[in-house]
Symmetry: C2
Subunit: 323 residues, 2 copies
């Protein structure tokens, strides 16, 4: 939980006066959120989120992220819409931080995803991929294969402080992925972090997608593999084939995988597991014990990675070959 930067009432009232949002009625710091400071703001025009961008976000990336949200909204995707001020700008400044105001999305994220949630997410992810097709800006995936090596180099000597043998596991996997990582798969804008806390539901119906601050250009099927990791394992690390089938077939009903994507899927699943294992391991070793936000346990992704290493064919995930 985290409000890193305090905003005063006078500052916020002054900021809001620069938008067509009516009068400031109230604002509350939101406890969720790891990267940035978020306030929920009520004005006479409705509910909005004010985000202050903290350390970890490179402000040079913000035009991509916020432009993407505008593009996706135009394409009918339910995600936060950046609000422009009277100068037509999306980016502003408050309390010494670069900031933006976006529309508030109703919905709750599922703490215990069910099969129906997984199907909704699969469908929404395919919709997102298709809607992003003609977005003009691009952003390299800093957390791709090359980035994984760089990240591992930063903590490799200390990896076994987390779990015995973790250094070897990661080194082995990186060597495998260097050989096996697919090239030239169908690509475009991917969300790259579509975990349950970034997907809102009202009842069983998906109401919106949030937190596009890892979005980038990469293979679409890799994004699907991230979702498989995020949505289809239980708290005891068991793979849930029913959820996976629901996720994958809902995705394919909107965008069927190519033969190359189908064949590559187990490798993509390994890469996706490794990506989160790497960032979690790094954060585990580098988080100040007094930090407001507790790091995620890397072990959940050790377990997923070991599962994927045993998979022999795409069909074991419940993935159907459709063409």
């Amino acid at each position: 939980m985290a409000v890193y930067t305090e905003v005063t009432d006078d500052e916020l009232a002054r900021l809001i006066a620069g938008y067509d949002l009516g009068a400031l009625l109230s604002y509350k710091g939101i406890a969720e959120g790891v990267e940035n400071t978020n306030y929920m703001v009520h004005t006479s025009e409705g509910t909005f989120i004010l985000t202050l961008y903290e350390r970890r976000v490179d402000t040079a990336d913000l035009p991509f992220f916020l432009g993407l949200l505008e593009h996706l909204n135009r394409r009918g995707i339910s995600c936060p819409l950046p609000v422009r001020n009277r100068n037509g700008e999306v980016l502003t400044e408050i309390s010494g931080r670069t900031a933006a105001i976006v529309t508030f999305l109703e919905g709750v994220w599922p703490r215990r995803p069910r099969v129906e949630h997984c199907a909704e997410v699969g469908r929404a992810l395919a919709g997102l991929h298709l809607a992003g097709k003609d977005f003009a800006l691009t952003r390299r995936n800093a957390l791709g294969l090359e980035g994984w090596h760089a990240l591992f180099d930063r903590f490799a000597p200390r990896a076994d402080e987390i779990a015995r043998g973790l250094g070897n596991l990661i080194a082995y996997e990186l060597a495998y992925l260097d050989r096996a990582w697919p090239k030239d798969l169908p690509s475009g804008v991917i969300h790259a972090d579509l975990f349950p806390d970034n997907v809102f539901f009202i009842g069983d119906k998906l109401s919106g997608l949030i937190d596009f601050y890892f979005a980038c250009n990469d293979a679409w099927a890799y994004d699907l593999a991230i979702c498989l990791n995020a949505w289809c394992f239980e708290a005891d690390f068991a793979f849930n084939a029913t959820k996976a089938r629901a996720l994958l077939s809902a995705y394919q009903s909107a965008r069927p995988l190519t033969e190359a994507e189908y064949e590559a899927f187990p490798t993509l699943a390994r890469g996706a597991a490794l990506r989160f294992l790497l960032t979690r391991s790094h954060d585990w070793l580098h988080t100040d014990p007094n930090a407001l936000v507790k790091p995620h346990d890397p072990n959940a992704y050790v377990r997923r990675l070991r599962f994927h290493q045993e998979v022999n064919s795409p069909g074991e995930y419940g993935l159907e070959r459709v063409r």
Copy 2:
């Protein structure tokens, strides 16, 4: 900032289904709040606050606090209104905590109170005192003179870890108040914690009062002295006589002080300063350095207490004798 207890979407949806509040649309943990966990909840019927009562609140006091809010709402005071579930109950349970849902009040609290804010608060405090007159329940002030002694006993040997001479200052002041503390002043329900973060404004107009979890029965003028301490000193600890005059005269325009209250006011101001000096000192010494909430600096109340000790007459506060 503090969300001590997590609430899952399923639990909350189940809880909300027991009220006439329509469907759950969203909920966010609020970073503000020291004592309890608060969620801002949107349902199809509006915005509400779900409070989970943590350690420091004695659940035996909740019927007083929540009954008071209902009473004050009936008397036209703008404060949170507890929502009853379909069984007619205000208190419920979620995530292993006693909890309640109250209406959400729009407004922002002033980070830098101005004279106009002080006048509004004075008026609102008098209104609160008068509206509480016929409230049936009572609650002893656990943080009265007797409670101050008990609290000091808990940290007296370590007081000078905070500031050299603090132990002597408090012991001297307690001895003075034992002799001088007024008895039989006009009494009733007091808020007892009406700091700026508990008073909401929309523009310059007061929109509501919150956080009644220190409310109790005690001398009304003592509550006014608490507000004087909370609202009429600057960040550099200088007393602001203009703000004090605005606060006190607005209060008196709705409820003029008696002669006994007028005479006692400097002593009440000393007691009010000591009360916050004591709790802040205690918390300063007893807060886990890893705690989510940083304790307030006791020194602000050392400075206020020393100021009050130099005051020779009620008129020095800008208090007018009206009868």
